[in-house]
């Protein structure tokens, strides 16, 4: 039984800041007590490095750290050895682009969309500039949705990699990754999924999607900062060159520069990792699974529908994704600069993000550089939506400037 009031009690931020309406979950999420406890107990009860110590506490941390792979494997239906811990989804996507880049030749094409976050554009842009590759964009509708037909049209023999967000970060467009992967694989192209805005909110099954690589960040799913999950099909991970060289990821090396690296996933974890972060991320994944990703998805979908219906009724608001059924609500107050409107909302204890949300070519789809993004999570409530909409109804230039007096 999904009980939002009970769930809210798990989050100290919500208990300690009862007036705060936190609708900036696309940026980062609040942390439940169980995650905080998992992190702090590492500091107060069992600090050590991993994969290096011969004492009991070190063994405990090896078990907890490597054991977290099993938790994430369960979350996305992979093998534990297909889960590498990196710093965030950005690191995961950079690693993937770097590794795949070795195989690409001049004239090869990378297929993206204009709705992608900088982290799923710039690693590919750099690669394209270095190796004379071509970037092409899959056509989307005005709310950034890819149709299977438009993908089929975009796909051709030169395309070697397709990299897309499963749920886009501003408009919440849900892309048909499974169908896209099936088509792309007929051409032998890699399929890479930025799952930063999907894994926290819905059941994601990498076997069902049949994607080749996938990345997401723990902090967007109630976990600590500084932990990203890099998933890759086992045989592909074993072929991928690591970006970072250093401790733990090597098996042996000699003065003549010969080196033997460890197998995946450790090969992608050079240096001391964010051990407490990974353990905390595991606690977060278990917490989400205990509530049920399907329950979370269903609750958010209904809450978002309630939210957007109320926003549609406001004359002073322009909506950019009213027809999408999921994800953030992207809007502007008519005639009010997004950051000014966000300032007005902040004066009402409402946290949102304004600007371009790192999706700096999305304006080519929606025609504006600036939006306010209100992004929900499963601990948000209808009462919060009501209060939000009341404040949104009062977004005006006068009120936005009025906060300074």
């Amino acid at each position: 039984m999904f009980d939002v009031e009970k769930i809210r009690q798990d989050f100290p931020m919500l208990v300690k800041q009862p007036e705060l309406i936190y609708f900036d979950n696309g940026a980062t999420t609040l942390k439940p007590q169980c995650v905080i406890d998992a992190v702090t107990s590492f500091y107060t009860e069992h600090t050590s490095n991993v994969h290096r110590g011969d004492y009991a506490i070190a063994a405990t941390n090896d078990r907890l750290y490597d054991g977290t792979r099993k938790i994430f494997a369960k979350l996305i239906n992979s093998d534990p050895l297909e889960i590498a811990f990196v710093h965030n989804v950005t690191a995961a996507l950079n690693q993937i682009a770097y590794g795949i880049g070795e195989e690409l030749r001049e004239g090869d094409v990378i297929l993206l969309t204009k709705a992608e976050h900088a982290s799923n554009l710039l690693p590919w842009f750099r690669l394209a500039r270095e190796k004379n590759l071509k970037i092409e964009y899959i056509e989307t509708d005005s709310q950034a949705n890819i149709s299977v037909e438009s993908f089929r049209k975009a796909m051709h023999e030169k395309v070697k990699a397709v990299s897309i967000a499963q749920v886009t970060n501003v408009l919440g467009s849900i892309q048909p990754v499974k169908e896209i992967a099936a088509i792309a694989h007929q051409y032998g192209a890699y399929v890479i999924v930025d799952a930063a805005q999907s894994v926290p909110h819905m059941k994601v099954d990498v076997k069902e999607l049949d994607c080749d690589f996938l990345g997401f960040s723990a902090h967007k799913m109630c976990g600590p900062d500084g932990v990203g999950i890099l998933y890759g099909k086992k045989e592909l991970l074993e072929k991928l060159s690591p970006i970072f060289m250093g401790g733990d990821m090597n098996a042996r090396f000699s003065s003549d520069t010969n080196m033997i690296l460890k197998n995946a996933p450790i090969r992608f974890e050079a240096g001391t990792p964010n051990i407490e972060g990974v353990i905390g991320a595991g606690a977060a994944a278990e917490y989400l699974m205990s509530i049920g990703l399907d329950n979370i998805h269903e609750y958010e979908r209904k809450l978002r529908a309630y939210f957007i219906e109320k926003m549609k009724k406001l004359d002073n608001i322009e909506l950019y994704n009213p027809d999408n059924i999921y994800g953030p609500v992207a809007f502007n107050g008519k005639g009010v600069f997004a950051q000014d409107a966000a300032g007005w909302l902040a004066s009402k204890d409402i946290a949102v993000r304004s600007g371009n949300h790192c999706a700096k070519i999305l304006h080519e789809i929606i025609g504006t550089d600036q939006t306010i993004r209100a992004s929900l999570y499963f601990y948000n409530t209808k009462e919060e939506v009501d209060r939000f909409v009341e404040a949104a109804a009062d977004i005006s230039l006068e009120n936005a400037v009025g906060i300074f007096f």
Partner: protein, 149 residues
């Protein structure tokens, strides 16, 4: 303060709105004798260009254009009004007082005229960048002009 109207928050709010909706000196020139500074890297959002013509120790002209929030636009617009035609030494005094106000330190409200509208910005730390973007641009150009001299 000399002008008591500038103590009225309603008036100050109107001033900011007015400078945002109808910014002054809001057109760039192609004239190559102007110095130019593009301010876009400080934040994700604001993207403005400020131009100035500084000759013989006098700021003869200031212009700007770009996409920016009310605070950035209005503060830059007021800056152009306030510093245009001033001697560099006077301008530096005004700029010093403006940054003093923004940093919640002592300042002389009389020399700032309308720009006192931004006296409360220090309370919203995330907007300090907005209220200073145009002022930083002109400061850079004054510094450059002094190097050249």
């Amino acid at each position: 303060m000399a002008n008591s109207l500038l103590n009225d928050p309603e008036i100050l709010r109107e001033l900011i709105m007015d400078h945002y909706q109808y910014p002054h000196n809001h057109k760039l020139t192609e004239d190559e004798s102007y110095a130019s500074v593009h301010m876009a890297s400080d934040s994700c959002i604001d993207d403005i260009t400020v131009q100035s013509k500084i000759r013989d120790g006098v700021i003869e002209d200031i212009r700007f254009d770009g996409v920016a929030c009310t605070i950035s636009t209005a503060s830059t617009s007021m800056m152009t009004d306030l510093l245009k035609g001033k001697k560099v030494e006077e301008a530096k005094d005004i700029i010093g007082n403006y940054f003093g106000m923004i940093d919640a330190k002592e300042y002389d409200p009389d020399v700032l005229e309308e720009a006192v509208a931004f006296k409360n910005v220090y309370r919203q730390a995330n907007r300090i960048k907005c209220a200073t973007i145009g002022w930083k641009a002109i400061s850079q150009m004054i510094e450059e002009s002094e190097k050249d001299a």
